[in-house]
Symmetry: D2
Subunit: 146 residues, 4 copies
Amino acid sequence: MTTPRPAPLTRDAYRHLRRIELRWNDADRFGHVNNAVHQALVDSAINAWVIGTGTADARHDPVIPLVVETRCRFFAELDYPGAAEIGLRVAHLGTTSLGYEAGIFAEGAGEPAAQLLFTHVYVDRVTRRPAPIPPALRAALAALAP
Amino acid sequence: MTTPRPAPLTRDAYRHLRRIELRWNDADRFGHVNNAVHQALVDSAINAWVIGTGTADARHDPVIPLVVETRCRFFAELDYPGAAEIGLRVAHLGTTSLGYEAGIFAEGAGEPAAQLLFTHVYVDRVTRRPAPIPPALRAALAALAP
Amino acid sequence: MTTPRPAPLTRDAYRHLRRIELRWNDADRFGHVNNAVHQALVDSAINAWVIGTGTADARHDPVIPLVVETRCRFFAELDYPGAAEIGLRVAHLGTTSLGYEAGIFAEGAGEPAAQLLFTHVYVDRVTRRPAPIPPALRAALAALAP
Amino acid sequence: MTTPRPAPLTRDAYRHLRRIELRWNDADRFGHVNNAVHQALVDSAINAWVIGTGTADARHDPVIPLVVETRCRFFAELDYPGAAEIGLRVAHLGTTSLGYEAGIFAEGAGEPAAQLLFTHVYVDRVTRRPAPIPPALRAALAALAP
């Protein structure tokens, strides 16, 4: 392995947990939830949290987030049927960029199945040039501060 | 329209309801949950129900269900974020085939967003030839009788 | 089985064929492409065909198609790796509604793995009320007439 | 941004390229291919390459790969309709672990839309304990050496 592997964050490290039911076709023929599903779960949890703050409208906002980097380390396999819980916290908060740490837990588990880093850069919807994180969202993000 | 459109079944017509959180990428650029997601939701609800009866093991069973026909009528649009509830009941039960009626409801709604028919034929896992529905499953299906 | 099963259309019945590579997670633990993937393949083939005519812009058009009904009959299993070819033709063409027949073929196969009917109703993007099929698209659809 | 960003590899750095058609529901409401689709594309390209060597059978092999880490940096947006080409090469080859570098290119592009690292650990299918990479696969991987 080429990557140093710090111990993963446990459930209590996160400021928000969202439950998402796993689906039949999340699992592949190796009998576990496919790796690419993990990014979809975190993406869905982040967007739902952001929309839930009332500070964003994905259809009309002039400034939108682009994902510029994701990392995912896997610690355990998830399986269907069952649910995942996705924990979120802010790892860093810059002027135009924002990093979320996310843990994916089998329902009720303290130790994660996977831990991810999602880096967003806010951009102008039309020009796709970096733009400041909207102030209302920035204020709301305090709730996810570690 | 070429198809007669009977009134859709309401929530109370179903014998089982399963809640599935909608995901960011269930929605497409028309701003609603994509039509193909509806089959995935029902497929997931049926398989979870069957597995939950303790009468099936998708990895090892010598007899497995193949979907031979699906139909889906759409009545309303679903959107993310939010959850869908999938109602299930048995529409017909033959020797080797089985039809499920399913309704997809926005969480808490009485009127469906979509109503589907899923027809399963049980087959031998190796030969893919029709085989009788396993007796334990047949007994369990009584709980979904209309 | 409750449904009469006319013989499926063969490859030469279609006016347009689009090749789509199958993906690892199209297949489920029964060792075949999951049923819900078939709607996604046809949806993708129809939209690509429509966009390719130059008569539609999914992001801005004031009139957009909603899928109001789909039907799918399955005749054979598809598997990964491999590609599917999706055949399209118009089954009916009304004022505001439009039915596509689609066949899904294993690459190079003459007999379909599945045959689908997709019924679109055109609606106003904002009000979601039925609206006439745009004349430029109507003209283009002649190329898919059976 | 917290991550150093080396220049991405161009198309000619890869030893294998696989074309995968993009699908309607790969795109999300921000009008681009969703980030989680990138992992699915690479996963699909890797598995198809491995299966294509004739050295692996995902259904029966006693030793299977688990993805233990993925990283993805994004450089440009992809859109539907269109196709992606996925470039593959081996980044490191250990006794039980294996890293793939992958580039995702808009069809025909020299510069990537995204660059990924996928780390596989081979494990015993039943015990999920690390196991040596099968020798036949190890030999085949020479074709992906940088």
